[in-house]
Amino acid sequence: MALYVLRRLVSTIAVMAMVGIFIFLLLRLAPGDPAAIIAGDTATPEMIANIREKLGLNEPLPVQFAHWAHSILSGNLGISIFTGRPVLELISQRLEPTISLAILTMILSVTIGVTFGILAAWRAGGLVDRTLTALATLGFSVPVFVVGFFLIYFFAIRTRWLPVQGYQPIDHGFGPWLVQLILPTMTLALVYVALIARMTRASMLEVLSEDYMRTAAAKGVSSYSMLFHHALKNAGVPILTVIGLSFAYLISGVVITETVFNIPGVGRLVVDAINNRDYPVIQGVLILASGMYVLINLAVDLAYTLIDPRIRY
């Protein structure tokens, strides 16, 4: 087990190196000259050349990459071209809203999605099941910004139950923080609820017809315990996989939701950085995000062993 974790961490280094090269090249090969953007509309060619020189953009690509990789490895994600501030500082300022939104979304998606999926499988073809299918289709097909505006219209503008937009840091109080995040969380969670519920339903249906479920019934196990202990643990591996993937994909969902609800998070930071061709910021966020992704995958793989004793590394 320890050996497996070590091997996975070593292979993570290789993965991250590939990711690094890819991120670097992707941005260099994209059209648009950051120097021209920084210099502004009225800049002379000399000013632009000057800025290019200062940023090292005239060096050959491998040299640029070597410089960049070196500074990343020493913990320095670089300086934002646009704001002149360290990238790490920019990201960490924006981290709290994004992580808050991501965690709340996952809690909501997992509890509702798994519960819905179990109930749908329990009475397959019944009312809960058919409602779930309809909701899941809705969740998959309606874009996040439509759902967001719809929720804002009803819960914020019409009824005035919840605030329209914005964010309150958690150290201003848990209540205001939570209230501000309810609508964005619901918006973002819809698609993940649908995804997790569908996977839970499919996985549970398979397990419910297994011989050992009949054995459990013959023992006098209650319906609740049949579903939530005997079946759920067996159905857990595919559900956990989807949860892990969802968490990783949240990063992309967060961008739109943060824009709709005007939340100053990492998603908005990236959108602004892309508009401004702020390479160091884009690269920094992408590197951190892919690192997260790899770590979540590792955590999910390790969590399998907690659920299924037949899985050993």
Partner: protein, 335 residues
């Protein structure tokens, strides 16, 4: 075990006119066409027949474990100590299952939950039906594993099913079923999926435990040899009905239903060194999707006469404790 139950003549389970149907897309399969039989406390009753004759459906109907969406018991009574199980609430039924009536299944490889230890699964049965604490229940699990002769129960109690062989898993299933000292154990082909050498051991174990605990056993099998070794009374089933009911001695000495005779002829005789080609019963089991006119065995029966194709024979007494559903039972019995 806490209680020594003696074999007596009191009726433990009294099944009357039990009818179970399976519902398909467009058809209804009459899996049980009204069967009646009794299990007395402490006895071993064999239930024999070909695949699809309704043996397992009978067992699942008794415990009300039929697949909810596709099957339903549509008629009859299942009286256990005089109370009709079909009228119990789900909660009352759960208090019977695993506690007073327990069941073991054909497939030991898939009948245990792969993600819980064997000890946990045995202890769970104990905790559901008694007020035992977790540690007492685990102690009971170890005791049960010892009782079913699993070596090193202290270690095995923490094993997962995949760490055990098929024979050992069936022993664990038996341990689980007997953990609450049930009055009736339904064993649905418990040895069919096992190696021949292991089969004999498991049979021996069930017979020994039955004698030790006094539990009545309903032994479902397609193997008449197993019946001869383990049971006192037998019911022979064919196409969802009881063809013949007798003590083991009577059944083997004077089989009164042509189907029983056919079954006996197709059992390999182990006493003859050289095996002759086994005779088989010609024809196929009728479909239970359409109502059957006359005796369901008539198309395959060497004794069939006109009346057999027109009227359905009912089970009738042809001797003390011996009944057959055949118009010509006396002639059949006479050879």
């Amino acid at each position: 075990m806490q209680m020594q139950k003696l074999a007596g003549n009191d009726v433990l389970l009294d099944v009357r006119d039990l009818e179970t149907h399976f519902y398909g897309e467009e058809s209804v399969t009459r899996a049980l066409g009204g069967i009646s039989f009794q299990v007395r406390s402490g006895e071993t009753l064999g239930v024999v027949g070909e695949s699809g004759c309704g043996k397992s459906v009978t067992a699942l109907s008794i415990l009300r474990l039929l697949p909810k969406l596709t099957a339903r018991t549509v008629g009859g009574e299942i009286r256990f100590h005089g109370r009709d199980l079909l009228k119990l609430s789900p909660r009352e039924m759960r208090q019977i299952r695993g506690n007073r009536i327990a069941m073991i299944f054909q497939e030991p490889m898939t009948s245990l939950n792969p993600v819980y230890t064997v000890g946990h699964q045995i202890a769970e049965a104990v905790q559901i039906h008694t007020k035992a604490s977790r540690s007492d229940a685990m102690a009971k699990a170890r005791e049960m594993l010892r009782l079913v002769r699993i070596a090193d129960p202290e270690r095995r109690v923490n094993n997962y099913p995949h760490e055990m062989s098929g024979g050992m898993r069936q022993r664990a299933m038996i341990a689980m079923a007997l953990a609450c000292s049930p009055e009736l154990l339904i064993a649905d082909e418990p040895t069919t999926a096992l190696d021949v050498t292991i089969q004999a051991q498991i049979l021996r174990l069930i017979v020994d435990l039955k004698e030790h605990t006094g539990t009545a056993v309903m032994f479902i099998t397609h193997d008449l040899g197993v019946v001869a070794e383990t049971c006192q009374r037998v019911i022979v089933m064919y196409a969802g009905r009881i063809a013949e009911q007798a003590s083991v001695t009577d059944l083997f000495a004077r089989p009164a239903h042509p189907y029983t005779q056919g079954l006996m002829r197709s059992v390999p005789d182990r006493r003859h060194g050289r095996q002759r080609r086994l005779p088989e019963i010609p024809g196929i089991v009728p479909s239970l999707r359409e109502p059957i006119v006359g005796c369901s065995f008539a198309p395959r029966c060497p004794f069939a006469i006109g009346i057999c194709r027109e009227k359905t024979p009912t089970l009738r007494d042809i001797g003390p404790g011996h009944a057959a559903a055949c118009f010509r039972a006396e002639e059949v019995m006479g050879g």
